[in-house]
């Protein structure tokens, strides 16, 4: 009480300007990002369920087959890359710069492997976007995710370059934190896409 009174006497004028009392800009930005991504992926998944459930199109449409096991290996690679990006952030939080660099480099290489494997899978899959609704929605869903991986790889490339230039430290590593959140998001979305398109 006495401290509050002393503070009251010392302070003049209104309190310092502040952002919204209800939500911080960072959290608001992340909510808007999640909302926009949910709408984007949601529209593609709506098309998928319409084609498969409402229209009753067999999945995959004969005589085509989906490369489930190649996609499974690719899934393992992408999920592992989430572990390495997490390791890189934990390393820099402890001031381990080489752990950060190794983690980011490994993450970038695994992300690149995922994208190249997906491109090879596209070239050998035996059908194209024009081969019916099944083929169209398959390429749209996996391609939309591939575009997200490409964006994530671009972010990872910048993060890796910055890490090798010594831009991050135990105190300042927001660039790794934000990139890591995006990469985990991309991984979670792939798990959803893989289960929906390849497994169910």
């Amino acid at each position: 009480m006495a401290a509050a009174h002393a503070e009251h006497l010392e302070h003049h004028g209104p309190p310092a300007p502040h952002y919204s009392s209800r939500i911080t800009p960072g959290v608001l930005g992340m909510f808007l990002f999640i909302a926009s991504e949910v709408m984007l992926f949601g529209s593609f998944f709506t098309a998928y369920f319409f084609v498969r459930v409402v229209n009753g199109v067999p999945w995959p449409t004969p005589p085509y087959h989906l490369p489930v096991y190649v996609a499974f290996v690719n899934t393992c690679i992408l999920v592992t890359s989430s572990f390495t990006v997490h390791w890189s952030l934990q390393s820099i939080k402890r001031g381990n710069v080489w752990g950060l660099r190794a983690g980011l480099l490994l993450t970038f290489l695994m992300g690149l492997t995922f994208l190249i494997t997906q491109a090879i899978e596209y070239s050998r899959i035996g059908f194209n976007t024009s081969d019916g609704a099944f083929a169209t929605i398959f390429f749209c869903l996996t391609g939309l995710h591939g575009a997200h991986v490409f964006v994530g790889l671009s972010i990872l490339a910048f993060m890796t370059i910055r890490a090798f230039r010594g831009h991050f430290s135990a105190e300042h590593h927001d660039g790794v934190e934000i990139g890591g959140i995006y990469w985990h998001f991309v991984d979670v979305m792939w798990i959803v896409v893989y289960l929906t398109v390849y497994i169910l």
């Binding site: 509050a4 503070e7 009251h8 006497l9 302070h11 003049h12 004028g13 209104p14 309190p15 310092a16 300007p17 502040h18 009392s21 209800r22 959290v27 992340m30 909510f31 990002f33 999640i34 999920v79 989430s82 990006v85 997490h86 952030l89 790794v176 934190e177 890591g180 959140i181 985990h184 998001f185 991984d187 979670v188 798990i191 959803v192 893989y194 289960l195 497994i199 169910l200």
Partner: protein, 184 residues
């Protein structure tokens, strides 16, 4: 509901949870596709429940109170009046007065954006009170009275707050500020 992407640590935890759910769904789908669909519905429900049940960071902390005062030699009063208030009786010798009228609306009105009527009512009350109270200016505040007080104090340093409303509202405002709060 907790934001699963609030930080890298939380996003990684969410990924692990999604991975476990995916394993359950994959095993169920291996047995039967419809069993996999049922497992997916249960898994999504489980994830949503988990995010809802997780305590939000900072919720357990006591809310930070706002402190405020006016320049030396002045005594400024912030009046919080609900829409429909016709008059406010203030003590003599008060310097500047600012009246804030929260545009109180129901949850449904706030969610649907149907707040024009409530805002117009708050504007009428604000104009009437500004005309009746000497040295007063008035403005319409946020739909939450406590938030309206927060916003007003950021532009108008006050030494005292007078609330025209019930005791519950007075306690609510008292819990947010360090300056004296009284009920008119």
């Amino acid at each position: 509901m907790r934001n699963p992407l609030r930080s890298e640590d939380e996003a990684f935890r969410f990924l692990i949870a999604a991975l476990i759910a995916a394993l359950v769904i994959a095993v169920a789908a291996y047995v039967n596709t419809w069993l996999g669909v049922a497992a997916a519905v249960v898994a999504v429900g489980g994830l949503v429940w988990w995010l809802r049940e997780e305590p939000l960071p900072g919720v357990a902390d006591a809310p930070q109170k706002l402190t405020s005062s006016s320049p030396t030699g002045m005594h400024r009063v912030l009046v919080v009046a609900l829409p429909g208030t016709e008059s406010v009786k203030l003590a003599d010798g008060v310097g500047e007065v600012m009246v804030v009228v929260p545009a109180v609306s129901s949850r449904v009105q706030a969610l649907t954006g149907d707040v024009d009527g409530r805002r117009a009512e708050a504007e009428r009350t604000a104009a009437a009170l500004a005309a009746r109270i000497p040295n007063a200016r008035a403005e319409v505040g946020a739909d939450d009275p406590a938030l309206a007080v927060d916003d007003a104090l950021r532009t108008f340093g006050a030494d005292e707050i007078v609330v025209v409303g019930d005791e519950e509202l007075v306690d609510q405002v008292r819990g947010r500020v360090t300056i004296p709060v009284s009920r008119a």
